[in-house]
């Protein structure tokens, strides 16, 4: 069995390869239109400058990807601005909601009810995580679904998690995040045996806080389950230079602070390495659906990149593939990798 790790999946290809497509999980049960269509529920009221930047981002995303269908969740007027601007207004549908944080919850429910394949929101992360976990289902062993971001480094992209969902986690939670992050790196970067590092503040044994001293033993035991390799302790500089780990695991507090610091630095003075910066959006892992979270200060291009990430994750069957990887029932075999975003 070969899991397709390539980007956009062609019609029939996933079935031919025998890999589990998202349709088996009921997420694309009623896809309308051409094969490869991705139906993304977009939270029109999420973010500091919603709905203006979300409208802008949704339009950009539609222009860039002809196979995209958007379920716009929020005020009808904002949704109409989008459909009015599209050559084919049938590419968007509307779930009219006026109330503040209700849009994120409704967008999640749309995925749970198979009306959309994925959800994108720049709203409050906590609200989204609290809505998504029960509605889409937490995977066994996942207490708090982690948010995984991709950062550029001088040696290539790095998956950093958790970047804001879990504060005060325990060692078991960190180890579960290590598994999920490794599986995510396999899917999005086509890495066969991802190197997993634990972020700390000094690589000598005994360094770090209580949490970091307790975690390595669990990491060593669990990482091989997902075909990953625990490479030990890494430091803040390793997230910038890269080359040591493909996946860097930390608690949601430290990860969020580091992500926001580095993202802002890269936006201001340029990113390291040849790669362009990632989509400035993070994927929620360990749940039964595709959820992408954009920063509250996201601009239109960031929202568009978040929508593109959600569509890409859906098309490559990220959720079911990650499910298999963390259960150890499948090892990734890389066929072809398309670097999107």
């Amino acid at each position: 069995v070969t899991i397709p790790l390539n980007g956009r999946v062609e019609s029939g290809r996933r079935r031919t390869s025998g890999a589990p497509g998202p349709e088996r999980h009921g997420l694309t049960a009623d896809v309308a239109g051409a094969p490869g269509t991705a139906r993304i529920a977009v939270d029109l009221l999420g973010g500091d400058q919603a709905p203006a930047v979300v409208v802008d981002g949704a339009l950009r995303a539609c222009l860039a990807d002809p196979s995209l269908h958007l379920l716009l969740v929020g005020p009808a007027e904002a949704a109409e601005t989008i459909s009015d601007a599209l050559a084919d207004p049938s590419r968007v549908s509307v779930l009219p909601i006026d109330g503040g944080t209700e849009t994120a919850r409704a967008a999640v429910r749309a995925v749970a009810h198979h009306r959309a394949d994925a959800v994108v929101s720049a709203g409050d992360t906590g609200t989204l995580v609290l809505a998504a976990a029960p509605a889409l289902g937490r995977r066994p062993g996942v207490r708090r679904p982690p948010l995984a971001a991709v950062l550029p480094s001088a040696a290539g992209p790095i998956v950093l998690l958790d970047v804001g969902s879990s504060v005060d986690p325990d060692a078991q939670t960190l180890a579960m995040h290590a598994l999920l992050g490794a599986a995510y790196a396999s899917v999005v970067h086509g890495i066969e045996a991802p190197r997993v590092g634990l972020l700390t503040i000094g690589t000598e044994r005994g360094k770090g806080d209580r949490l970091r001293r307790a975690a390595p033993e669990l990491f060593e035991r669990l990482a091989p389950v997902a075909g990953a390799r625990y490479v030990g302790l890494v430091e803040g500089n390793d997230v910038v230079t890269g080359g040591v780990a493909d996946v860097v695991v930390t608690d949601g507090f430290t990860g969020n602070v580091l992500l926001k610091g580095l993202e802002t630095a890269y936006a201001l003075v340029g990113a390291p390495g040849p790669a362009t910066p990632g989509p400035r959006a993070a994927a929620l892992l360990g749940i039964g659906g595709t959820v992408v979270v954009c920063h509250g200060s996201a601009r239109g291009v960031d929202i568009a990149a978040g929508i593109a990430l959600a569509a890409s994750l859906h098309r490559r069957g990220a959720v079911p593939v990650i499910d298999q990887l963390i259960q150890g029932t499948e090892k990734p075999r890389v066929q072809e990798v398309v670097h999107e975003q």
Copy 2:
């Protein structure tokens, strides 16, 4: 009473102004040579590439600052390399020690015994902190002396602390660090009423982990003691863009990760703002002496910058001025600020 916040203190000026000079604290009891002389104890064996880079750094520092006197702590051969290269070999003296981590402790003792005005080491931070606190004396209320680093931002320099000394601190410790950081910003950046921010992961009320939810009340109550102003919660991006806070307070784990990430990013792709990056060295606060810690991977220029920082802190009487500021017995009045480094 006016505390001199200007850079190098001229002979007699400190006395004339009535401010407490370091001589009152017994740290410069036996200064040899011209006024303004700074006697820095240098740990020759601290750092990943010691003693080679320390020898290089010590030489660079001596060439840049004619009023510098170095007490070289470590192998006699390494010390001789330095004295041989100097036009005036009497500018260095040697405390010969061959053993590994003993050099840091001996350098600290040299300050405690008034044989040097300050100590610079690129050795293990934990060892240095554990040696310095009892030997030089912790200030009342200081449990774990914090390390304060200065980072460039688009809007000017920011004092970030703690960057690696205190892991798993409580809210009282963070609040004490806020006071110390504010006093440090007054001394090194000549800021009259430093704005103090608490680093967290979302500025809405109730965001962050247990520690961050408990700290703001204490910050509000304590910051005014040092003439500082608590400006509330800040995020990782604020450390890069600046303009929100002059002092950013966090635990030693998060601070270390963020510092190493940003320092490496700035070294790789350039620093934000017009300012040149800081000395990549951190000052240990809340103790009765001047201690500067360089990164273990410090190069010669970094060691030289650390020595220059130590000399500058000594010359502007940082320790006694900070003591007064955190006790609320003196408010800073800025006369003239010399930006060194």
